[in-house]
C-alpha cells in the first residue's frame, strides 16, 4: 500500500467508526429521552395528584 492509500484507509476507518458511534449515540439518546419523558410524565401526574389532593 502506498502512503496515500494507508492514510485514506485510516481516515475511512475513523469515519466509519464515527458514523457507528453517532448512530449508537442517537439510539441511546432516544432511549434516554423516553425514560426521561416517562419520568416527567410521572412527575406531572404526581404533581397533579398532589395539587388535587
Amino acid at each position: 500500500m502506498t502512503y496515500k492509500e494507508k492514510v485514506s484507509l485510516i481516515e475511512k476507518i475513523e469515519s466509519e467508526c464515527g458514523k457507528e458511534i453517532k448512530a449508537l449515540t442517537l439510539g441511546y439518546r432516544q432511549k434516554i429521552l423516553k425514560i426521561f419523558d416517562r419520568v416527567r410524565d410521572r412527575k406531572i401526574k404526581e404533581l397533579k395528584k398532589n395539587i388535587l389532593l
Binding site: 500500500m1 502506498t2 502512503y3 496515500k4 494507508k6 492514510v7 484507509l9 485510516i10 481516515e11 476507518i13 475513523e14 466509519e16 467508526c17 464515527g18 457507528e20 458511534i21 449508537l24 449515540t25 439510539g27 441511546y28 432511549k31 434516554i32 425514560i35 426521561f36 416517562r38 419520568v39 416527567r40 410521572r42 412527575k43 406531572i44 404533581l47 397533579k48 398532589n50 395539587i51 388535587l52 389532593l53
Partner: protein
Amino acid sequence: MHDWKDDLQRVFASIPKEEAPQGESSLPVEGEALSEEEAKKLLEALEDAQERLTRAEQQAHGEGVSNSIRAGREGATASESREVHEATQEFEEGVKERVRRAKKAIRDIERPVKKKKRRNEEEPAQGGSLKVRSEETARESGQSTIPKERVRNPQIDGRLIIIGREILNERGVNITVEDFIQAIEEETGEHISREYYYSLFNAARAQVPFAIGKKREKIDEKKEEPLKKQEQESQPQKKPQEHHDKQESLDIDFIARLVVLECGQSGSYAQYCDRLRRRIGGKIDSMSQKELSDLFRRASIVRHPEEEKIKQNVEENRRRLFELVSLFVREFPEVTSGTELIRIMKERGYDPDIANTDDFLSFFDQAHSDAQKKSERISQSVVHPESTGPLLDREQKPSHAIQEEKDGDVIDVEGYAITPSQEVASHLYVEDDVFSKKKGRVARVFESLSERTKESVARIWDRAGIEYRQRIVRIPAFIERLHDKKAQRKKVLIEDSEAEIKKIQQELDTISELEKGPLTKKQRKQAQKDRDKREKRLTELEQIRNEGIRALDVVQEQKKKYQHTCQEMAHKTYAVIEGIASPFRERSIDLEDQYKRVWQKAMHFYNDIKEIQSIITTLEKQQKTTAIKAEKLILKEKIRALRTTLEQALSQYARCQQELSKIQSVLTQVKKKIKKWDDKIESIKTKSKPSPNRTPKASTWEPIGEYTPEIEQPEQEKKEPNVSVKKYQTLWNERFGDSLMFDISALDTIRRELASTIMPELKKVSLNETAPIKYIELLLRAYIKKVIEQERLKGGWSSKSDKKLSERTDEMITYIRARVIT
C-alpha cells in the same frame, strides 16, 4: 521604527505552504515503498486517529455520566435509574467495542506484512502444535494466559513503541518490567516473546521526555539479570557500537593521519600504535603488521596543504567534542564530574577521544556552567508541567499570566491551576527540549558524518526540522481543544438550564390549567405555593442560562485570542528554529565545498596516478628495448671474441700446416735416404756375402735438417731483425727468378686478403718498409700456396711440380734467411 511583527510575518511567509497547515500531508503520495519520512508521518497519523477515537470514547462516557446525574437530579425512581444506567452501559460498551475495533484496524495498517509471514513460518517449527496452553498451568507459572498461537515475535515496531511510551507516560518510567509486560498485553491483547520486552521497554523509554539516563531502580535485580542475558543474546551488537565501527572504518586513514600529526613525523611506531589503539580500540588488533605499517606510511606522507587541513580538523574535532560534552551535560544535569560523564558517554556507545584531559575537563566545566545558566533562565520564565513544586509566586509571574488569573481564566492541569499562556509556554518548553535533543542528534550525526555529502546532512536536518514544525502546529490544536472543553461545559450548563426552564414552564402551564378548574381554597393555596416556588426557580435558571451564554461568548473570545497568541508563538519558535538551523545549513554548505575540494583533489591525484602509470609503462617498454640492445651488444662482443679466437686458431692452423709441410719434407728426405741406404744394403748383400767376423761400418746417415717449431720460440721474434721486403725480393729474384718471379703487387693483394680474414698478423707486414722475417716468410709461403692453387685450377700443374716448388720454397727461405741474418 523597526517592527518585530513585520519580521515575524516575513518569517511566517517564508514557511513553505505544505508544511504549515495541520492535518495535510506535505509528503509525496506516489510510490509503493514508504520512505522513512512517510513512515514517520504515517505513524503520527495513526497516533492522531487513535487519540481522536479515545476522545470520542471519553465523550461517550461523559454523556453517560451526565445522564446518570440527570436521572438522579430529576428524581427518577430506582427502576428508572437502573434503566438509564443499563442503557448508558450498553451505549458505552458499544462505543468502546467500536473504538477498540477501529484502533485495532488502524494498528493493523501499520503492522508490516512480513511479520505475519514470519509468524506463519514459525508455527510449524514449533512441531505443528497449536494447542492452547492450559490457563491453570500458565497462571501457576506466572505467565500470560493468552493462547500461544497468538504469541508474536516481532521486531520492535513503531506501533508497540507508541503503546509502550503511553504506558510509561501514564505509569512512570520506574515501572517494573513485569508490570510493563502486563500492561502491554492488556493493551494489545497479544503476547510477545519475553526477550523482546526488554528491548521494547528501552525503546519506549528512550522516547519519554526526561526519562533518558534514569535508572530502573524498582526493577528487581534478580529478575533483571536473566533479562539482561536475554537482551545480550538477542542483541549481540548494539546500534551505537555498529555506528561507531562504521565511523572508524570510514575514517581510519584520517585517524591515522591525525595520530601522525599528534605524535609528529618523528614519532615512534609504538607511539603511533598506542595512540591509534586509544582512538579506534581493539580494531587495531585485527590488522596485520603490513596493514598497520602501510597505514602509517600513507599517513606519514602528508603534503603541506593537507597538513594544514588536518590541523583545522583537529580544531574542528575539539569543537565537536565540546558540543558532544554540552549535549551530555544537558541530558544528564545531575552529573557533576567529568569522569562520571565519560563513563555515561561510553555506556551510550560514545568513546570520546580524550587525548587532552585538561581540554575535556574545561569543556565539561564550561558546558556545566552554560547548562546551569540556561536552566536558571528557563525556571524564571516558565512553569514546567512535570514540576511537583508550587506554582510561581505572584511577583515572579509574567504580567499576562496575572491578567489571565484576574479574568478567572484558569485551567486545571493535573490538579494545578495554570493559565493558558503558562500551559502553552510549558508545552513550548517541552518542544524546545525535544528540539534540543534533535539538535544534539543532528550534532551527533555531524560527528559521524564528517566527510559525507551535503545531501545526507540536508536530508537528516530537514527531517528534524519538519518534525519540529509539525509539533509546533499541534500547540494551537491543544489550545483549541482546551477552549472547546470549556465551551462544552458552558453549553451543557445552558442546555441543562433551558431544559429545566422548559420543564418548569410546562409545570406552570399545568398549574394554570388546574387553577382554571374548580379548586378548593386549600388546593388553590397549594397551587399558588407551587407556582411561586417554580417561578422563583425559573428566574434563577434564567439567570444561570444568561450567565452561561455570556461565559460562552467569553470563552469563544478567549479561544480566538489564544489562537492568535499561539500563532505568534509558533512564528517566534519557527524563527528560533531558523536561527538554530542556519548554522547547520551553513555547515552543510561548508561540507559540500569541502567535499568538492576533496573530490577535485582526488581527481587530480587520480590523473597523476594515471600519468605516472603511463610513464611507468613507457619506461618498462624502453627498459625492455634497452635490455635487448644490451644483449645484442654482449652477443656482438661474444661474436667478436669468437672471431678473434677463430682467427687465432686459423693462424695457428696455418702455422701448424707450415710446420707439418716442413716435417713432411724432412720425412721425405729421410725416407729417400733410408731407401738409398736400403738399396745400398741390398746391393752389398747381393754383391758380397758377409764374412762372419766382419764388423758393420759406421752409419753414414746425417740429418738433413732439424725441425724446430717457430711458435715455441717467441724470443726468437725479438731477436730476429726486421727486413725490408724489397731486399727479400732482390734476394729471391737473384736466386730463383728464372722459375718464379717475386711479384710484389700480387704479394700485397694476398697480404690484404689474408690479413682481413685468417691471418691478422700479416697486417704487421709493410711492403714499403721493413717487417719481421717470420712474417715475410709467412707471406711468401701463403703467396706460393696461392700460386700453386691458381696453377692447379688452370690445370697446368702437377703434383710433381707442387712438390718441387714446395721444396724450392723451403730451400729459398732457408737461403734468404741465412743471407739476411748473416
